[in-house]
Amino acid sequence: MVKDTRTPAGAGDIRALNQPHPLAVKTGDGEGPAALRLRSRWVTVEAVVDRWRIDDEWWREQPISRMYYECAVDQGLRVTVFQDLASYKWSLQRA
């Protein structure tokens, strides 16, 4: 039996990194996003530089299935977003 260290339980010592953040996205006629809402303003996606799909953790109740897009927005800034293929919600994340 593990000895009680009497330290209060909590996840304070480990923090998640690079968590996805919900993002408002407008899609166009083609595949992928056409505009992204960044810092309270809409930014046009000039080009989708790369795209890839991940399917993982199939054994869980909610498996991970995402379509990632690396987008070039104004002045060459690169932003990575993904669409959850189960819920169809968009999120912002560094790949």
Binding site: D4, R6, G12, D13, I14, R15, A16, L17, N18, Q19, P20, I54, D56, E57, I64, Q93, R94, A95
Partner: protein, 392 residues
């Protein structure tokens, strides 16, 4: 573990009555400030419709004629700390709960004191009589607390064997939960612990989350939270009274210089360093004033400490004329000097260790994190790395 709960009901009120006996014939509400909010801390026993934690505005509508007193928390805490010190002379396992409530571990002490009854008598005698201590004994902190509520002033009480049946009639106000949770329980018609035990765990969890789980277990008489003994703190303090109450900074600085000279000349301070200085002062007709100063680097000599305190108080505005000033040096280290390493990387690590220790004292926890790889091979980005507290 067998635990005794020592309960000092209405501790703030009793201390205020000691200060001003005219309050004995009046209804009193003591409130404390949390930023812009004011909430009730304590009331006269005759005021039944006002509870601790209630917003002061609501309390005033329920009790219009009550005298309002702002809490003097440093004074209440000091009185309570002196009670804890005296209890600590009888048992090494003392945990401080909320103000006026202490838990004492009883296991293994019967042989030392002859019997549990002798120990209980000693614990009751350790508390000043005017505070009217009540003692409750049970397995677990929450049942011991309820037993203390049932005890007569100056007496001890042990619940009968059926703890759940003993606890059933108690109102939900005794639960260690925020006031808003208790108000919601009442709105659902759950006004006693017995009614909570009639429900299964699921509905309470669904409605209240982790608080629902905890209240269900507590209502059953199950409290597995361990007794965490308080760490004895070594402090040095000294007080000086002003001949005339003053709100000016110059007399305050002169008093601090004098107090520092007194403290650093004491044998206990020889070759040691302090991380924190606490200034406390009685303000004329107002609650006590308090300021906590954390030294960026532990200080072991008077002039350096004075320089830091002078910078810290230079721009403050005192809440009123101070009658006295008390300086306490806390978090004393055992260093007898600063021996630095010959090797640069070891010196750097020592510096980091000192900096992290200072930040822990200033902020209560370590705010420095470092990135560590957990599953760098994972295709899911948030699985690849985490932030872990940095321990040099």
């Amino acid at each position: 573990m067998r635990i005794a709960c020592v309960l000092l009901n209405h501790l703030p009120l009793k201390l205020e009555l000691q200060r001003d006996q005219n309050l004995a014939n009046r209804q009193v509400v003591i409130f404390e400030r949390h930023g812009s909010q004011r909430t009730v801390l304590d009331t006269s026993p005759v005021i039944q419709q006002v509870r601790r934690g209630m917003p002061l505005q609501e309390a005033q509508t329920r009790c219009k004629d009550a005298a309002l007193i702002e809490a003097d928390m440093p004074r209440y805490q000091q009185a309570f700390n002196s009670v804890l010190l005296r209890l600590g002379e009888w048992s090494p396992d003392i945990e401080s709960g909320e103000l006026g409530c202490a838990y004492v571990g009883l296991d293994g002490l019967e042989e030392t004191y002859g019997s549990e009854e002798r120990l209980i008598d000693a614990l009751l005698q350790a508390v000043p009589r005017y505070l009217e201590p009540r003692l409750g004994i049970s397995h677990g902190k929450f049942p011991a607390y309820l037993a203390a509520l049932r005890a007569e002033p100056g007496r001890a009480y042990k619940p009968p064997l059926g703890v759940k049946q003993f606890m059933a009639p108690f109102p939900v106000e005794v639960l260690p939960m925020p006031w808003e949770v208790k108000a919601r329980l009442r709105s659902f018609g759950l006004d006693t612990l017995g009614k909570i035990t009639e429900l299964s765990l699921g509905p309470l969890q669904a409605q209240f989350g982790p608080a629902g789980t905890r209240m269900w277990h507590l209502a059953q008489g199950r409290d597995d939270t361990p007794l965490i003994p308080r760490r004895p703190e070594e402090n040095l303090s000294s007080t000086i009274a002003f001949p005339v109450p003053t709100a000016n900074i110059e007399p305050l600085l002169m008093a601090l210089d004098h107090l520092l000279a007194r403290l650093f000349s004491q044998p206990e301070m020889r070759g040691r360093y302090a991380r924190v200085a606490l200034l406390e002062g009685q303000v004329v007709r107002k609650p006590a004033w308090q300021k906590r100063i954390v030294f960026k680097v532990p200080v072991g000599e008077r002039n350096r400490a004075y320089f830091v305190l002078k910078c810290a108080v230079a721009d403050i505005v005192l809440p009123g004329p101070l009658e006295d000033i008390r300086l306490t040096l806390r978090e004393l280290t055992g260093e007898s000097g600063r021996q630095e390493s010959l090797f640069r990387d070891v010196r750097r690590r020592d510096q980091l260790r000192q900096t992290v220790a200072q930040l822990k004292v200033a902020q209560g926890k370590n705010p420095i994190y470092q990135v560590r790889e957990t599953e760098p091979w994972s295709r899911i980005p948030e699985r690849q790395r985490v932030l872990v507290t940095y321990e040099p």
